[in-house]
Each structure stands twice: as structure tokens, then as C-alpha cells.
């Protein structure tokens, strides 16, 4: 039995946990405001809000219902456009109308859901955050300028928001209907999910529900999405441990990560869109084994390990040894990733992540790359470079990394490092780019790492001469 609250209605359903939340909402509950655009999390027309109990309050975030297995809704408050509607328009809805931010209207409920979710955050909001909240929403009509204006006017209104008690404030200011107040008490009465130990683990669903939704809808699935035991991020001596069910948002907003890898927030902004980051987990990104997985590339350069678990047996292996071949993993049949462990970067270290795709945001990389350097007295003491999209696996560039150790950062060493890494990779031509492009692009991203980290010493002109 899956139990949750949909808008103001308690749901107890025997529907298969692997069917999509979207179909349940639209066809099971006849709430047609949530639209079907692509069924792969790339348009945002099906965006809804997911509220999770945290003590006596609820934290809300946007998710795409097309990739959400119904089972993930267990114990949650799911809010569709119908659950936001009141007698009059909310300030979010008003802003969309007044700024002519809706034309054909098909994407609009998704935008309203995202912007309402943005308003509900228990933190100070800003125009940039309002825009980020709709980073997963595609509109084919407006050209977005009117939506930007709507977001601007909403962020002005939200400047007065009580961040300690956002829901109360939003109800008082007509952003939300009053029933939201009673939700925590009602959610408290729902029993936690019963974990079914079956082979097919599913977490955020952002890959599996794209790749084989029909199969998932009929398979016994093991839901990891709400596994609180796998959601912790903590500092342990000289390492950071990240629970495998942590999603990209958890990581990018983690104070620990921000402290040791200050650019994390900005780098992760390049990873998909806000709702997908709210769902997709770090372990899912690894296990999907995409040669271009952003999180794989990010953590490879940081020399992360993965802790693999099978009933009571655990083993820890370097992430770079986890990927064996195209979509082939060093993972036994009943094993799962428990956590990833990242050595805390040294104070004299540097890190950078680069990604280029056809569209800068909400896209899969053509090539991505990360670099971690430890530098002492102008000499590279330690170096790890990773690259995606240029090999059958997320690639740890061992040769180029090794070459740079003991070297000074000069244009010459970088040029040489590029020559070495070009031998390490084997890109193929596909829709994300020709192999020549990928080779050139990886060279450029290597250059970009050093130009960004050493703007005084390294310049494109000298690298090219």
C-alpha cells in the first residue's frame, strides 16, 4: 500500500509502485492540470511539488512526476496545480498573467508549480534562485522574457517572506491555500515505507524511468529514494561521506561540500535542472555508468571511493575502479552502493569542473572534465584529471595526471599533458559530437582548467603558439 497526501486528499493505493506519479495524477485521480510533455524529465510540463516531513515542518521541492515512481510518493505531500489553486489567483499566478508569461498555456502549470516551490523554500529567495527554479521548464512560445519579468515581480514580493515559517507566511499572503497548515500532522500518521529487498533498486528514477518505464511498472522494485539511512552527508576525520541516496541538490547545498569544494554550487548548476537534481542520486549517476555522467566525472577527480554493501558484507573500492567497460560495473549482483567517500581536499589544493554541451544548462555534456591539483612551491604534488564523453567509461586520465606530478604549471607542461591524454581517450562520433570535436573540446577543457586556475601564468595564446 502506498500512502500519501495528494493536494488536500489522503491517498491509499494498491497501484504498482513502479507506475509513474504523472499517470496516477492525471488518469488515476483525474487531475489534468499536470501535463505530459516528454516523459523524460526534459520539459517540466509535469512538474509537481513534493513535501517531505522534517520534524514538524515540511520541506517542499519541485520534481518531475513523469519520472517519479509512484512508490516514491509514499509518506509525502504531493502538490499539483489543483492543490495550489484558490478562489483568487495566487501572487505567482497573478505575476504570470500580468506579465503575459503564458501563451499556449501547456507548459504553464509546470512553471507555476516550480515558482510556487521556489516561494516555499525555507531560505531567502532571490531573482537568480527564482530563475533557477524554472531551469527545468521549457516554454516554446514566449521566449522566456515575460517569464523572467514574472519571476522578478515574485522575488520582490518574497523579499518580505518569513524564512523561519514560510508556509504560514505564504498562506497569510495568499500564495497557498490554508489546508497546507494541517499537512504535517496528517503526514505524521503515515507509516514509513516498507523496504522490499528485490534486485531492481530504484532511487530518483531519473535514468531508469526514462530507459525502461514499461518494465519498471511491472517489476518488484526496491525503493531507495526515501532511505533516510542513506541520505547523510558527514565529515569523518579526513574524509567526507556522502550517503548513496543523496541527490544532487543535497550535495550542492551541503555546507560540508561548500566548505571544502567552494565551487560545488556553481558546478552542480551545470548538472541537469533543478527538479532533476532534486531527484537524481549520486549512486544512481554512478550505477547508470553513463560515460558522460557529471557526478561520476566530478568525484573521479576528487579520488572518491565507493562503499559497496551486500547484506552485512562491505567493501570499499576507488571510484576509478568501479567502471569496467561500457555500462559494465565492478558491482556484484546483490551489492549496492552504500555511500561514497571523498578525501577532504588539502588546503593547498585546487579543483575545477568544466562541462560543455549543446545547451549550457539542462543538457547532457558533449565532454566534461574535472581536475584536482595539490600544489606546493609551484610544483604539482598531486594531480587527478577525469574526462567524460571521450571513452566508453567515465575516464580517470591516469597517464596525463601522472605526467603532471612533479611538474611546474607552464604552458609547455599543459601542452604535453594534452598530448598524453589524447592517447588515453577513444571518443566516438555520436549525437553529442564528432570524435574530432570531442578531442578538441577535451583539449580546450584541459586548457580551461589551467586558464581558470592560473589566469596569471597560462593564456590561450601561448597554449596555441
Amino acid at each position: 500500500m502506498i500512502s500519501f497526501i495528494l493536494n488536500n486528499q489522503t491517498i491509499n493505493t494498491e497501484s504498482h509502485p513502479g507506475t509513474t506519479l504523472l499517470d496516477f495524477i492525471r488518469y488515476g485521480q483525474n487531475l489534468p492540470g499536470t501535463k505530459i510533455g516528454c516523459r523524460e524529465g526534459d520539459c517540466g510540463a509535469c512538474t509537481v511539488l513534493e513535501g517531505t516531513l522534517d520534524g514538524n515542518t515540511i520541506k517542499y521541492k519541485s520534481i518531475v512526476s513523469c519520472l517519479t515512481p509512484l512508490g516514491n510518493a509514499h509518506g509525502k505531500h504531493i502538490v499539483t496545480i489543483e492543490g495550489i489553486n484558490m478562489k483568487g489567483l495566487s501572487p505567482v499566478q497573478k505575476a504570470m498573467v500580468e506579465n503575459s508569461a503564458t501563451q499556449c498555456g501547456f507548459c504553464t502549470p509546470g512553471f507555476v508549480a516550480s515558482l510556487t516551490g521556489h516561494a516555499m523554500a525555507g531560505e531567502n529567495t532571490s531573482y537568480d534562485k527564482a530563475i533557477a527554479s524554472v531551469s527545468g521548464n521549457i516554454c516554446r512560445c514566449t521566449g522566456y522574457k515575460s517569464i523572467e519579468k514574472a519571476a522578478k515581480s515574485i522575488s520582490v514580493l518574497l523579499e518580505k517572506k518569513d524564512v523561519e515559517n514560510p508556509i504560514n507566511w505564504l498562506i497569510e499572503n495568499d500564495f497557498l491555500p490554508a489546508y497546507f497548515l494541517g499537512i504535517p500532522g496528517r503526514l505524521n500518521q503515515i507509516e514509513p515505507t516498507i523496504i522490499v529487498a528485490t534486485k531492481q533498486i530504484i532511487a530518483g528514477g531519473t535514468d531508469l524511468m526514462v530507459q525502461r518505464p514499461e518494465e519498471i511498472a511491472e517489476t518488484n522494485i526496491n525503493l531507495f529514494y526515501n532511505r533516510q539511512d542513506l541520505k547523510e552527508i558527514k565529515e569523518e576525520k579526513d574524509r567526507i561521506r556522502i550517503g548513496s541516496a543523496c541527490n544532487a541538490t543535497d550535495i550542492m547545498s551541503s555546507e560540508i561540500l561548500q566548505k571544502y569544494i567552494p565551487g560545488t554550487g556553481a558546478y552542480f548548476k551545470l548538472v541537469s535542472s533543478e527538479p532533476i537534481r532534486n531527484m537524481g542520486t549520486v549512486a544512481g549517476n554512478f550505477v547508470n555508468a553513463s560515460p558522460i555522467g557529471d557526478l561520476s566525472i566530478f568525484f573521479l577527480a576528487l579520488n572518491a571511493n565507493v562503499l559497496l554493501k551486500e547484506s552485512n558484507h562491505t567493501r570499499e573500492i576507488p571510484l576509478k575502479n568501479f567502471f569496467l567497460g561500457y555500462k559494465k560495473l565492478n558491482l556484484k549482483e546483490k551489492e549496492y552502493i552504500d555511500s561514497i567517500v571523498v578525501p577532504i581536499p588539502k588546503p593547498y589544493s585546487m579543483f575545477n569542473f568544466e562541462k560543455v554541451s549543446k545547451r549550457t544548462y539542462l543538457d547532457i555534456a558533449s565532454v566534461n572534465s574535472a581536475i584536482y591539483l595539490e600544489l606546493k612551491g609551484g610544483i604539482i604534488e598531486s594531480c587527478s584529471i577525469s574526462a567524460g564523453g571521450t571513452s566508453p567509461i567515465p575516464k580517470y586520465l591516469g597517464e596525463a595526471s601522472r605526467y603532471l606530478i612533479g611538474k611546474k604549471v607552464t604552458n609547455g607542461t599543459i601542452i604535453k599533458a594534452n598530448e598524453i591524454l589524447q592517447e588515453e581517450i577513444s571518443p566516438i562520433s555520436d549525437i553529442r559530437g564528432s570524435k574530432d570535436y570531442k578531442r578538441l573540446l577535451l583539449r580546450q577543457l584541459l586548457f580551461a582548467h589551467f586558464i581558470k586556475l592560473f589566469p596569471e601564468n597560462i593564456s590561450i595564446n601561448e597554449l596555441l603558439s
Binding site: R39, C43, E82, M96, S100, C104, Y144, L362, I431
Partner: protein, 750 residues
């Protein structure tokens, strides 16, 4: 006035096809498309699919009671493939099942054994092999052969422009069910209700009056639902007619993107000749239009390419030829601009090439050759109210373009990692369907006895705001509150024989028909009030819902007036008919007066290019646009912004890619990218040109849907400027879209 739908949009209450409450017993269809791009069907294995629990029936061409033919202009496209398949995704069968999931599962169980035939995806190759959809056409003005010797400079080149996926967020879909008298009602997400009706009648072998097509609104169309909503509506109708149950066919996004046609890719050879003072004396192009496997709207699109091939310029000697080539791709179709963007991209490329070779500013050639009043287009019409120079010089002055140029230069001399580029894009676009008979429309107006008004027209609302404009017309003619007026769904039983809502003409045609109907009704009401007040109707007017006599209140309000008219047995219903006057076109001579008027405008596009990574951001697009007298600036500005961003998408990130064997590679939203909120220009400014609009425009407010799309073309030339600023070795070329891949390869071209 805001878009009248906007409140329902933001609350999710607007109803699209898939939101219509379904009847009990509704079945769901999924399409089995050809797995091969070209071949003979040897056998079709459906047994396994038929045995799947929940599958009701699988339809093929054999089940069609009427004709298996959905071609509009030319009858060359079957609804279901019979013996041969011509593109991957070409519908072969429709599975109807108790749920959409079952139907989709069953589709995967169907096997088609296909003997493969040669696959052609390239338009030039098709032409070489004689595979043309229709005979080629040429438009001529002056005599290019005589002109070449007089030219001081002659340049030749090649231009490629890619396809474009419509990516309306609502996919193709229809819901059909039987109504009384064994008739069928089809709810379709189509721009052309009558077209669906006509073709469904043909397929089912029924008279048109037994097919009722109803369209509430579309979740985006952009031309993609002008012709290509039809097959899926016909399939739903066919299945519901034969099974006698309601049937819904909504395409999964992956099927929609695979099966439906897109904007036509064009490949072009051009030759341009200039005098020593940069006047273009002669221009010749041979264009290869990639039409796909059936003609669809290609003939009409070819025509508009010919009409607009000289862009916003006057070229005394012009000869343009288009070959519409048959390839093994989905039949390409209408898309905002309808062939004009492809033509305009070529003339701008030719000018850019000349400027680059002559080492002068492109602007200099542009401003030397703009259309002037009375200039003849290559199709015979003379330019009237040719506003392009007005737009251009207004843009130069208002936006201080000379300063922008200096800033760009200054930035480029100071920066290595980033370079900027600027381009100017002028647009001249003719308004009217180029097929003259399509320029007609009707509007049915009821004034109900309580004073409320219901309006039906042939216009389809798809976000462009036509319904709002219609309300404005009625509200203005009657001088009543817009709240009294409702726009009904577009329905073939209320308004018959409609043209599709396309060619930017929806508001002009339907709005003018509505104006005629409302004006007639107003006359009747005035006559009623003249009887009530025993005075001459000429003394009376209706203003602000009140009857005034010589400008003074009479105590008679709208409600009283309507009620009196009703009791006096006055007809409160009127059908207005409008046919655009003046226009004509003689295809045998390729001359005439095809357009009611032209829309003009100029865009200044500035880009910043990250020369390390090959990615780019558009800083500014500054536009002077000729709206005429815009009747709704909020809606019209929204059209300009939306079209511009779509145009930028076309020449930058939107890359439709097929493999050599005809397989769509950009087959999902994860591989086909349209602009998101971060990729649009940081700043878009739109200033209207201050002029009076033409009489043939609705309330002198010019059509606005398509023309601004072509401002996006400026993005291409801004980018090439920035690339050259970084890499002087870059050899200017014309190959849209200029994706980050192509940009990077050009930045480092040796």
C-alpha cells in the same frame, strides 16, 4: 488586454485534447511505424501483438473503408503504408487497446519484414537521381545573364540550413467518438479543422457532414499541426468508426518526434553580383529543398521561399529556382516562416560573403540595397509602404548602432578569451496565403437574449492570442465589455470550409469576418433603437454599453436593447464572410499581387563568444518592428520575443540529425535541444515603428506570428563575426545551425 485564456492557463484549467473527460469504454491507440527508411513490406507479423491481453484490434491499410490517401496539395501520401515504406516511422499499423501502455507494448511485438531499398536523405542526391516531389519552379526579375557582365564583383557560394523540430509541448493527438446518425466527432489538436474533416471523410468514405471536428486550443502548433495533425485524427476516427467505441490517439513524444515532419533543410548554390558602389545588380540561386518522403505542404513552402528569396532588398536582376526533392525522411512541413527563413538566410549569406571578400562592413551592402517604395518584387508586386529603411535608420539612431560597433571592437581588442560579434538582420515578409483561395474566412456571431455574445470563427487558438484579438474586435464594434463575449471552440459544424490557422493570417482573416458580422448586427440593433426612440438611426450610437442619441444618454442600455430586439423578432445571429480583396497570383507567369501587405523590421543582435569552450551567450537583441497600429502590444510583443528565440534556436542549438540510413539521431528531448530560460538573449528590446498600419490588416494592426522569426538569423552572423575576431584564419561559411561543436571547430580552424 491580457490573453483571455491566461487565468485558466495559470490554474491548469484550460482544456487540451488529452484533458477532455473520456467516455466509458474509451480505447487507446499507438502507432506502429516503419523501422526502415525505404523498402518493400514483405510481411507484417501482428499475431503476437494481437494476442496480448487488452489489445482490441490492429488496423492497417486493408481496414480503410474509403481511400488510403491523406495528401493535401498532392495526393501522394497514404495514411498507412501499403506495399512500400518511405521513411522511418511511417505509419504501417495502429494498435488499439484498453490502455495506452498495452497499446505501446503491443506495438513492440509487431514485426515488419522489409526488403530494403536504396535510402536517400540528401536533397542534392535526390535531385541528381531525378527524385522530385513536384516540378521545379523559378521566379525571375530582369535578366541575370545580361547583368553579370555589368557587375564589378561576383561571388559564389554554398549555403546549408538545417531542419527544425516544432517541439510544441503538447504532442499530436486526437479523440474520436461516434455521435448520433453514425457520425463521428473528432477532437483534434490541429491548426486546420476543415483539413482534418476533409481527409477523415476521404479515408472513411463518408460525406464531410458526418465528420465534426472540434478544436478547443493547441498546446503549441508553429505549423507542425497544420497538416500533420491529420493522420492521427484520421486514425482515431477510423478506429472509433470501425470498432464503434471512443478512441484516443495521443502520440508519445518519442513517436511524435520520430514520425512527424520538420522544417525543411535547404542546400543552396548562390551567385551574387555587385557594382563598384556595392549595389547588388544580379542574384541567382539554385535551392534544393529537402521535402522528405511525401509532398505535404512542400509546394507551398517552396513558393514562399521563392517569394522571399531576396529578403528586404531590391535586386533588379534576380533568378531563383527551388527544387523540391523527395528523400527518405518524414515529410517535412510547415514551420513558422514557411520557407521564408531558408530563403532569407541565403541572401544574407550572399551579402556576408561579398562583404567578407571585399573586406567591407556587411552593413554597407545592406543599406545600399534596401527595398524602396515602388520597387518591384520578383513576383511582380510593387512595394507599397516599404518601411524597411524607416526601420533600419530608426534602429541605427535609437539603438546607437555606431556606438555598439565601437564597443564590440573595443571589447575584442582588450579580450582574448572572449569575443563579441554584432549583426543586423532586416526582415520583409508578405502577409496572405500565397494560394489566393485560402484567403477567406467566416465568423458566426450570436447575441443571446441576455446580452451575452458567443463567437465562432475558423481561427484556432494556439497561444498566439487570436481569440483575445477576436474579443477585442467584437467588443470594439459593439462597444461592450469584453466580459460579455465568449469565443467558442473552433468547430466545423458552426464554421465550415475554414482555412488552417497559419501564414500569420488567423487574426486578419477571421477578425475581418467577425468585424463584418458584428457590424451587420450593430446596424440591426441601431435600427431597433431608432424605433425605440423614434428617431433616425444616424443620430444614434452605442458607446460603453449605452445607446446615445447625438452623444447624449437615452436611458437605453445594451441589455434592454438586445431584449427589445429579440422581442421584436430581429435576427441576433449573423454570419460574416471575408475574402481578402485585391490579391491574386498567376502561377503560369509567376507574377501577381499575392500579398495584402508586408511586415518589416530590423534586429540588432550582439553575442559574446567564449573562445576557449566554443559556447556563447546573446547579450542583446534590439528590434524596431513594424506592427502597424498594434491592437494588443502585450500579445504582439510576446509573438516577437517567442519567434525571435525560436529563430535563434534554429540557427544555433537546434540540430536535427539523421544517419545516412535515415534514422533520426536527435530523437528525444535529451538529444534535441531548444532554448531554455538561460539560453535566451539577456536583453530583448522591442520598439514599434511609428507608422499607420494598412487597411487590410485587422484594425490596421499587422500580422505578427511569423516575421520576427527571421530576426533570429542575425544570431548566425553575429557569431561568425565573433569567430573571425578570434581566428582570422576562419573561412566564413554558411552552415546553420552553428552549434557549439561547429563554433569550436571554426575557432580553431587552421
Amino acid at each position: 488586454m491580457k490573453n483571455i485564456d491566461s487565468k485558466n492557463h495559470v490554474t491548469g484549467k484550460s482544456v487540451y485534447v488529452d484533458d477532455i473527460p473520456i467516455q466509458a469504454g474509451t480505447l487507446f491507440g499507438a502507432v506502429f511505424g516503419s523501422p526502415k527508411a525505404h523498402g518493400r513490406i514483405l510481411s507484417l507479423g501482428t499475431t503476437e501483438a494481437e494476442l496480448l491481453e487488452g489489445v482490441v484490434k490492429i488496423f492497417t491499410y486493408k481496414d480503410i473503408p474509403g481511400r488510403n490517401q491523406i495528401g493535401g496539395i498532392i495526393e501522394d501520401e497514404p495514411l498507412f503504408a501499403e506495399n512500400e515504406v518511405h521513411f522511418i516511422g511511417q505509419p504501417i499499423a495502429l494498435v488499439v487497446a484498453k490502455s495506452e501502455i498495452i497499446a505501446r507494448k503491443a506495438v513492440k511485438l509487431i514485426n515488419a519484414e522489409i526488403e530494403e531499398l536504396e535510402v536517400i536523405t540528401d536533397a542534392r542526391e535526390a535531385k541528381e537521381k531525378g527524385n522530385l516531389l513536384i516540378p521545379s519552379r523559378t521566379f525571375k526579375l530582369g535578366d541575370v545573364e545580361n547583368a553579370w557582365p555589368k557587375c564589378d564583383y561576383i561571388f559564389e557560394g554554398k549555403v546549408e540550413s538545417g531542419g527544425q523540430e516544432h517541439l510544441y509541448i503538447e504532442t499530436q493527438g486526437s479523440y474520436a467518438y461516434l455521435t448520433d446518425n453514425n457520425s463521428i466527432k473528432i477532437h483534434s489538436s490541429t491548426q486546420g479543422a476543415t483539413l482534418v474533416q476533409k481527409i477523415a471523410a476521404r479515408v472513411l468514405g463518408l460525406p464531410m457532414h458526418r465528420i465534426e471536428v472540434d478544436v478547443a486550443r493547441l498546446g503549441g502548433g508553429f505549423g507542425g499541426k497544420e497538416d500533420q495533425a491529420t493522420p492521427y485524427a484520421c486514425m482515431a476516427a477510423l478506429a472509433s468508426f470501425l470498432i464503434q467505441k471512443p478512441v484516443k490517439v495521443i502520440l508519445h513524444r518519442l513517436d511524435d518526434i520520430l514520425m512527424t515532419g520538420k522544417r525543411h533543410p535547404y542546400s543552396t548554390d548562390f551567385k551574387i553580383g555587385l557594382s563598384e558602389n556595392y549595389r547588388i545588380l544580379a542574384y541567382q540561386t539554385t535551392m534544393f529543398q529537402n521535402g522528405g518522403a511525401a509532398s505535404d505542404l512542400s509546394p507551398a513552402i517552396m513558393e514562399r521561399t521563392l517569394f522571399h528569396s531576396t529578403g528586404a532588398y531590391f535586386i533588379p536582376n534576380t533568378e531563383v529556382t527551388v527544387h523540391s526533392c523527395k528523400t527518405n525522411l518524414p515529410p517535412n512541413t510547415a514551420f513558422r516562416g514557411f520557407g521564408a527563413p531558408q530563403g532569407m538566410f541565403v541572401i544574407e549569406s550572399a551579402i556576408a560573403k561579398a562583404a567578407c571578400e571585399l573586406n567591407i562592413s556587411k552593413r554597407l551592402i545592406q543599406e545600399t540595397n534596401f527595398l524602396k517604395e515602388g520597387n518591384q518584387f520578383q513576383y511582380g508586386q510593387l512595394a507599397e509602404n516599404a518601411n524597411i529603411e524607416k526601420c533600419y535608420y530608426s534602429a541605427i539612431k535609437t539603438y546607437q548602432v555606431n556606438e555598439i560597433e565601437k564597443e564590440v571592437e573595443g571589447f575584442n581588442s582588450k579580450n582574448t578569451n572572449y569575443k563579441k560579434g554584432m549583426a543586423i538582420m532586416p526582415v520583409c515578409f508578405g502577409i496572405s496565403f500565397t494560394k489566393t483561395p485560402m484567403n477567406q474566412a467566416r465568423a458566426l456571431v450570436h447575441i443571446y437574449q441576455d446580452g451575452s455574445v458567443g463567437i465562432s470563427t475558423g481561427a484556432v487558438e494556439m497561444g498566439q492570442g487570436v481569440n483575445t484579438k477576436l474579443i477585442q474586435v467584437a467588443s470594439q464594434v459593439f462597444s461592450i465589455n469584453p466580459g460579455r463575449i465568449k469565443i467558442e471552440t473552433t468547430n466545423t459544424t458552426r464554421v465550415a470550409n475554414t482555412s488552417p490557422t497559419a501564414a500569420s493570417s488567423g487574426a486578419d482573416l477571421n477578425g475581418n469576418a467577425l468585424k463584418i458580422a458584428c457590424t451587420t448586427l450593430l446596424k440591426r440593433l441601431k435600427s431597433t433603437s431608432s424605433k425605440m426612440l423614434s428617431c433616425d438611426a444616424s443620430e444614434l450610437s452605442i458607446e460603453g454599453e449605452k445607446v446615445l442619441k447625438n452623444g447624449k444618454e437615452t436611458g437605453i442600455g445594451w441589455n434592454k436593447l438586445v431584449e427589445t430586439a429579440f422581442l421584436g423578432r430581429v435576427c441576433l445571429t449573423e454570419n460574416g464572410h471575408y475574402a481578402t480583396p485585391v490579391i491574386h497570383f498567376d502561377k503560369t507567369k509567376e507574377k501577381g499581387y499575392p500579398f495584402a501587405y508586408h511586415v518589416y523590421g530590423v534586429a540588432i543582435v550582439t553575442v559574446t563568444l567564449d573562445c576557449i569552450r566554443g559556447i556563447y551567450e546573446f547579450d542583446d537583441v534590439k528590434i524596431i518592428h513594424d506592427f502597424g497600429n498594434s491592437m494588443n502590444t502585450a500579445i504582439d510583443n510576446g509573438q516577437v520575443e517567442g519567434a525571435l528565440v525560436q529563430g535563434i534556436g534554429w540557427v544555433t542549438m537546434e540540430e536535427v540529425a539523421f544517419s545516412k540510413d535515415g534514422k533520426l539521431l536527435s530523437n528525444s528531448l535529451s538529444t534535441y535541444k531548444v532554448p531554455d530560460i538561460y539560453s535566451v538573449p539577456k536583453n530583448i528590446e522591442i520598439i514599434p515603428l511609428i507608422v499607420d498600419g494598412p487597411e487590410l490588416a485587422l484594425l490596421r494592426s499587422k500580422a505578427v506570428g511569423e516575421p520576427p522569426f527571421m530576426y533570429g538569423i542575425g544570431a548566425y552572423f553575429a557569431l561568425t563575426k565573433a569567430i573571425r575576431a578570434f581566428n582570422p584564419n576562419y573561412k566564413l561559411d554558411f552552415d546553420a545551425p552553428l552549434t557549439p561543436e561547429k563554433v569550436l571547430l571554426r575557432l580553431y580552424q587552421k
